[in-house]
Amino acid sequence: MNISVAEVEHVARLARLELSEAEKNLFAGQMGAILGYVEKLKELDTEGILPTSHAVPMENAFREDAACPSIGIEKALANAPDRVGSFYRVPKVIE
């Protein structure tokens, strides 16, 4: 299956990834081969078959709507690359 460099760039943008020219070409080839392989699923007639999203039969797992303690601000922000007080600091979100 043929995946173009333009398609690779489109998918990379969606995935928030930046690839070098060499990587784009490599991925175009590898993705093409893998996607070509998965085309074999077309051989199967899945008319009327329900998709499985969950391996074991389960329904909604509910709990009481009661407030419980959480890990707290200090622990939550302990790995922050950049923090100010009780906030994560990032580049401007709204231009």
């Binding site: 998965v38 899945t46 074991v56």
Partner: protein, 485 residues
């Protein structure tokens, strides 16, 4: 003192009889890790102070008469398990300095039992791999032949057991990542039924497929570990409330009349001759123990790899979206804005295999392709599940090889990802079906490489596969051979 070679139950007996203390056993393990890890690379983080503190606490418990079978036992965890206060990298540069603010439930449960934590084990980055060649912290080498891969993604977990660097370890299995390295390293690896063990605090790869499981020296240890790990967890909404039996009580040694299915799609021409020979011999052994064999068919086997590499990559692309440099992990510097921060952090922080799978998953979920790829794969998943449901109407367990060949050479498949993916053909269907399976040592290749045998059970049928594996193990000596390292 051969504490290094002991199983959990063997070391427990010695600890209980005060022949050795947990501190002594732990010191021996830490020395062993220091001595051989330069050749193997099992560990990303060794925690000697923590280990000795845990061991001292265990010895106090033992002296006070409050020990159980796991108290004082030196274990190590795949670096995918969050351990509060102890660096957890998931084999990735993007988390190379991440110190979790909370612990995985599986780790909490083992801690309560008084185990000793030796450290965090190497793995393929974000659990994506079958050879432990895609870790940001170096390739792990197979203790039986250090020019070969140990398997993946729980390569460090399997190598550590084989090299006697830990009494037992924890891994995770999404497409075979416990069973395949266990097979390649000659230890027992168990993937429980989906939902049997909590995934809380386990860094997510593919949420409908991931499961936690033990890698151990023998089947009894596997039953002991499963008993400690299994159970409902309110923090994991996908964990089930099915009661946890005493798995060790299932190890009766009796498999007379056990109906074992042999799926014709797994015993194909082109199977490595040593693997075929081990399977043939194992079948004879089981027959001599009174088991009955039934030919079965799992007709959609050939579609499992394609199904998996659409579903798992799609789920991974979603799960790995959180690594954006905002709240934790690597954040790129010198960026031109928010989008650039996300893009550069992820591009610098992720390795090639992770990027490849994120790209595949993103493609499969993208507008215009979602129905043709992702939904189609989910429908084929239903067909694969139905194959197993139908098969289990006539058999109690299913016996198959774990991998088409013994451990391949380092570097052999890195340039051909599709070839690498195809080697997971025997383990992947079990994750898609959500059921349980284990790998147990079943022989060696002519070159001295371990070959494992897979036993697949019904959902929540761990007792049956453990019973079968234990009876087989006790009738053979494969599990007593040790890697010379």
């Amino acid at each position: 003192m051969d504490t290094l070679d002991q199983s959990i139950h063997g070391l427990h007996r010695k600890l209980k009889a005060k022949e050795v203390s947990s501190v002594e056993a732990t010191r021996a393990m830490l020395s062993r890790i220091e001595a051989v890890d330069p050749q193997i690379g099992s560990f990303i983080t060794v925690t000697p102070e923590q280990a000795l503190a845990d061991a001292a606490a265990a010895d106090r418990r033992i002296a006070a008469g409050r020990m159980d079978v796991l108290t004082g036992i030196p274990l190590a965890l795949k670096d995918i398990f969050l351990t509060e206060g102890i660096r957890t990298t998931c084999g990735s540069r993007i988390l190379s300095n991440f110190v979790p603010p909370y612990s995985a439930t599986s780790w909490e449960k083992l801690k309560e039992r008084g185990v000793v934590l030796l450290g965090k084990l190497n793995q393929d980055e974000f659990a994506m791999g079958s050879s432990n060649e895609s870790s940001a912290f170096g390739t792990v080498r197979n203790p039986w032949d250090t020019t070969r891969i140990p398997g993946g993604s729980s390569g460090g977990s399997a190598a550590a057991v084989a090299a006697r660097q830990a009494t037992a370890t924890l891994g995770t299995d999404t497409g075979g990542s416990i069973r395949q390295p266990a097979s390649h390293c000659g230890c027992v690896g168990l993937k429980p039924t989906y939902g049997r063990v909590s995934r809380y605090g386990v860094i997510a790869y593919a949420s409908s497929l991931d499961q936690v499981g033990p890698l151990t020296r023998d089947v009894t240890d596997s039953a002991i570990m499963l008993g400690a790990l299994a159970g409902h967890d309110p923090k994991d909404s996908t964990s089930v409330a099915t009661p946890v039996p005493d798995y060790t009580a299932a190890l009766t040694g009796d498999i007379k009349g056990l109906r074992i299915g042999l799926p014709r799609e797994y015993f194909i021409a082109g199977l490595d001759p040593d693997v075929q020979a081990s399977m043939d011999q194992a079948i004879q052994t089981c027959r001599s123990l009174g088991a009955e064999f039934v030919d079965i068919s799992l007709p959609h086997t050939d579609y499992a790899v394609a199904t998996y590499y659409l579903i798992a990559t799609a789920e991974a692309s979603s799960n790995l979206a959180r690594y954006d440099g905002v709240r934790f992990g690597y954040r790129a510097e010198g960026v031109t804005g928010l989008l650039d921060m996300y893009t550069k952090s992820r591009s610098h922080g992720f390795g090639a295999e992770v990027k490849r799978r994120i790209m595949l998953g993103t493609y499969a979920l993208s507008s215009g392709y979602y129905d043709a790829y992702y939904v189609k794969a989910q429908k084929v998943r239903t067909l694969i599940m139905q194959d197993f449901i139908r098969a289990f109407e006539g058999v109690d367990v299913i016996l198959t090889p774990v991998a088409p060949t013994p451990a391949f050479k380092i570097g052999e498949k890195v340039d051909d990802p599709l070839q690498m993916y195809l080697s997971d053909i025997f383990t992947i269907p079990v994750n898609l079906a959500g059921t349980c399976a284990l790998s147990v040592p079943a022989g060696f290749s002519s070159g001295g490489l371990p070959i494992g045998l897979q036993l697949i059970g019904k959902p929540f049928g761990e007792e049956t596969i453990l019973r079968a594996a234990h009876a087989f193990e006790q009738a053979t000596e494969w599990h007593t051979r040790k890697a010379v390292i």
